[in-house]
Symmetry: C2
Subunit: 133 residues, 2 copies
């Protein structure tokens, strides 16, 4: 079932995101990519239709959201449910694994939102030390 | 201290990564970007020099690692320690906030590595259903 299995460096597992050829790295990129984290986080609240999701993930283009959803669906993190109504209705929801991934992402998102004052102070110090605008 | 403060949608916090103009979204992208997550994860094990880090984050170019480190340093997640030796020696290490962020990322990385069999099975089902290679 598994394909490339890089030698584990420091743990007794066959997959290792630090190895560039490991398939887990691609999934890490889908999950944490520019729109992946926000899409998974938004779907954690419940299933959404494409346009609802697009409004929730402020700033995403139709094309990028579509690509993001395909990658997450292919990795088994998002389930696409098409209903044969007229007009057709398509809902997106997290799979069980998708929910576990989203929980970790939301914990990270909450931490960053809570600590943005620290981040903004650090940026100001960094820019001041370099005489930047 | 804070700059743009988008209206919180569902939580009583001034920062919201789902709003495109919120400064927390930029930090989320630094942290979860293509190389940010791996760099923070690698530094969790201890301080590293640039070339050590480059070997650990397999596949990163010198330019991308340098850009990643600057962004993480500016956000106050990585500390750069330059020693005035000859040749000069520069170490990178996580700040306290960087460690907290890295803990969340490593939990996510471990989950993905542990569940890659599920992901690979999902990919095979997806491709088979679409008659892809």
């Amino acid at each position: 079932m598994t394909t490339t299995q890089p030698a584990p460096e420091d743990r007794d597992l066959p997959f290792n995101v630090f190895a560039k050829s490991c398939p887990s790295r691609v999934t890490l990129e889908h999950v944490t990519g520019r729109w992946g984290a926000l899409t998974l986080g938004a779907l954690y609240e419940g299933s959404l239709r494409f346009n609802e999701l697009r409004r929730r993930v402020d700033g995403v283009s139709e094309k990028m959201l579509s690509q993001t959803l395909h990658a997450l669906e292919r990795d088994g993190l998002v389930h696409r449910e098409a209903q044969l109504t007229n007009p057709p209705r398509v809902d997106y929801e997290l799979t069980e694994l998708g929910r576990e991934v989203a929980e970790h992402l939301l914990a990270l998102i909450r931490l960053l939102e809570d600590r943005m004052d620290t981040v903004i102070e650090a940026r100001e110090r960094y820019d001041a030390a370099r005489g930047a605008r």
